[in-house]
Symmetry: C2
Subunit: 239 residues, 2 copies
């Protein structure tokens, strides 16, 4: 069993790991679309939107000379393209804003709040997400996530899995990487964190992508903790 | 009466405004010194330490080519000089670290936690302090301060009252300055914030400097709110 006794802070991937973005957005938009009289396949829109997520961050990574662009702005750009592509009619500026801010209104997985609350009694807990600071702050208030602070890719002007994010988080916490544990439902996120000396915890979220889930059904690496959910992480961390 | 209805976030000065640094440090060090067998005038040390605070930040401001230095490091440098000056004997490396981290272990004023808890129900609440992120995070856990996020001068690599701090906070929150209210017990902090378009709230903390308090007994500006304590701010903000 891996030694995690030196860990002082746990930092969490958020989309998929802490919150169920897909179901949240589909339910929110379907209800809103019906009330607003906007006809669209909201499920397809949500899946397509998340489908271009990685590519939109790659664009920022490839063009540092254009400056860092926060996730809210990437979401908005992608949405405008998808609205045209899906031929969704009648959306105003305020509607586009409402949809983009849907990413601030995501529901936690059933174990997230209770697990975080337990972990907070012994450890510093923070998101370490590609979401921007305002997005993560608004989401925490919406979902009741009891973060001690909000660490975001925005603070380092680099998206995960760039090393600046993991090392930047440890630096702001004034902790060596081995005293920080990255928690994620995504093996690639943990792989990047582990390479830099952080401790790692994996939770499976096998319904994150609904019927389109292709990977991350299970741990694919030598992670310090592998748990079913945040309850399992809190148990393992002695909270 | 000033219109504060557009405010979405309140950001707080911390040392003196939220926590009683002077009494906290004097009590902590006196108790620790007795147990550790270190003889010193801890009250004089604390007053002298705070006395060089402004000058230590001015050094960073004057020498941007040396890079930003976090407050923990400035505190440590100042302490080493004062220990020599006060001729305090027998301090180990661990002792100097303990004393420096005294600034992470500060008690809130009696109204702080209840006032913040009320304000948090309607607004985003965050420190906006010259303390570094780890210092503010550790202090929040020690003192039970229910911040939504932790904004610090460290994130902007500028100390207050540099404009980068106030505008940087608004930018990270994705809010225009007029939707952010600066709360402080120091008129000069509010003056800098108001000049940049932030709303302002003053609370008097007339015992912050003990018998050495020279100013900030009352509001000296046209602040949007002037309150006796955080209870008064929560009342005024309709929480």
């Amino acid at each position: 069993m891996s030694d995690v006794s030196a860990v002082k802070a746990l930092v969490f991937d958020v989309f998929g790991t802490v919150v169920d973005w897909r179901s949240s957005l589909i339910v929110d938009f379907t209800k809103w679309g019906a009330a607003r009289g906007i006809n669209a396949d909201w499920t397809a829109l949500v899946d397509a939107w998340r489908g271009v997520y990685m590519a939109s961050m790659d664009e920022v990574r490839k063009h540092p000379e254009r400056g860092y662009v926060i996730l809210d702005a990437l979401h908005r750009r992608s949405l405008e393209k998808l609205v045209a592509q899906f031929d969704i009619k009648g959306l105003t500026e305020a509607d586009l804003d409402y949809l983009t801010r849907g990413w601030h209104r995501l529901n936690p997985w059933p174990d997230s709040v209770s697990g975080l609350t337990r972990l907070k009694t012994k450890f510093i807990i923070s998101p370490l997400s590609n979401g921007n600071v305002a997005l993560l702050t608004n989401m925490a208030k919406f979902a009741g996530l009891p973060w001690d602070l909000v660490l975001s890719a925005e603070l380092f002007e680099h998206y995960k899995p760039d090393s600046e994010t993991y090392l930047g988080a440890a630096k702001l916490l004034c902790l060596p990487p081995e005293q920080v544990m990255m928690v994620a439902a995504h093996n690639n996120d943990l792989k990047a964190a582990q390479k830099l000396g952080l401790k790692t915890a994996f939770v499976a979220r096998p319904t994150e992508y609904g019927p389109h889930q292709k990977y991350d059904f299970e741990a694919k690496g030598d992670w310090d903790i592998v748990a079913k959910d945040f309850t399992g992480i809190a148990d393992r961390m002695g909270c």
